[in-house]
Symmetry: C2
Subunit: 182 residues, 2 copies
Amino acid sequence: MRVPQAMKDLPLPKVYQLLEPGPVVLLTTALKGRANVMTMSWHMMVEFEPPLIACIVSNANWSFAALRATRQCVIAIPALAMAPKVVKIGNCSGRDVDKFKRFGLTPIPAETVAPPLVAECFANLECKVVDTHLVNRFNLFVLEVQKAWIDPAQKHPKTIHHHGYGKFAVDGAMITLKSSMP
Amino acid sequence: MRVPQAMKDLPLPKVYQLLEPGPVVLLTTALKGRANVMTMSWHMMVEFEPPLIACIVSNANWSFAALRATRQCVIAIPALAMAPKVVKIGNCSGRDVDKFKRFGLTPIPAETVAPPLVAECFANLECKVVDTHLVNRFNLFVLEVQKAWIDPAQKHPKTIHHHGYGKFAVDGAMITLKSSMP
């Protein structure tokens, strides 16, 4: 188990660098003191700073009610080693099971929201819902990142990208091309 | 130059498998008969079928006016070999230059929309805008894919994922884990 003190602040203007590549992430919520976690691939950056994120949380998901009611969540980014667990988290429901317990995830209290960070993830983003206009039509939430954490002990983590039905591309080579764009 | 006839129909329920992994894509638009293309990383799936996609097209981009006025675009997905070109496309504006000409891209007429497909890309998605509620606040468009094309000559294309400032992760190993989820 990683100690919470290992987490460091990530400056908010760097948050997009974590999500723009499109990794599979975990989303934690909390309702009436009970935390839950789901697997999520449908998310995108909306703004650099303050960092805004859009995501789809289906109303078929147990997390939907908590996110809509509390307007708070944490986006936690798992590295490759967690892939088998990430898939299992996505294949069961918080309706039936305490997923933190079942999958041995370590919840850490967040600073600005009620849902917990996930200690095993290399990055955690504390988020509040800032727009719900498209929730009824598309299950689309817009979030603002309040605080971001990074685990410096996980160096150069490789993330996973879902191609459907449990097939994932793992980050391979990193290339750098001359660009004037952030 | 690849001949247009090489493109095959991709069944619409498979579209999410192309975008869910978070690749950098190109977006084509057309205004008053003039086509333009931009580089885009802020997009996500919204629904499986009909395939809905959300994307951010900044109002600082030349493409914004065309997309808002015509409500049509094509999302074209480039493989790794196009990476240098993709970055250059993202580093200039259709305000100043005909990017199809400058970068030697081959426009192919789409079937259901006015903006062209990009022959060099391994997949092309013809899209119409179906929701503009969040355009003013967030530059967020919701698109519905009308028709999808795949180039079977490009087998197992590797895509690129932007980490900021021209740094990209290239698709590496593919792994498959047992999952009951699409």
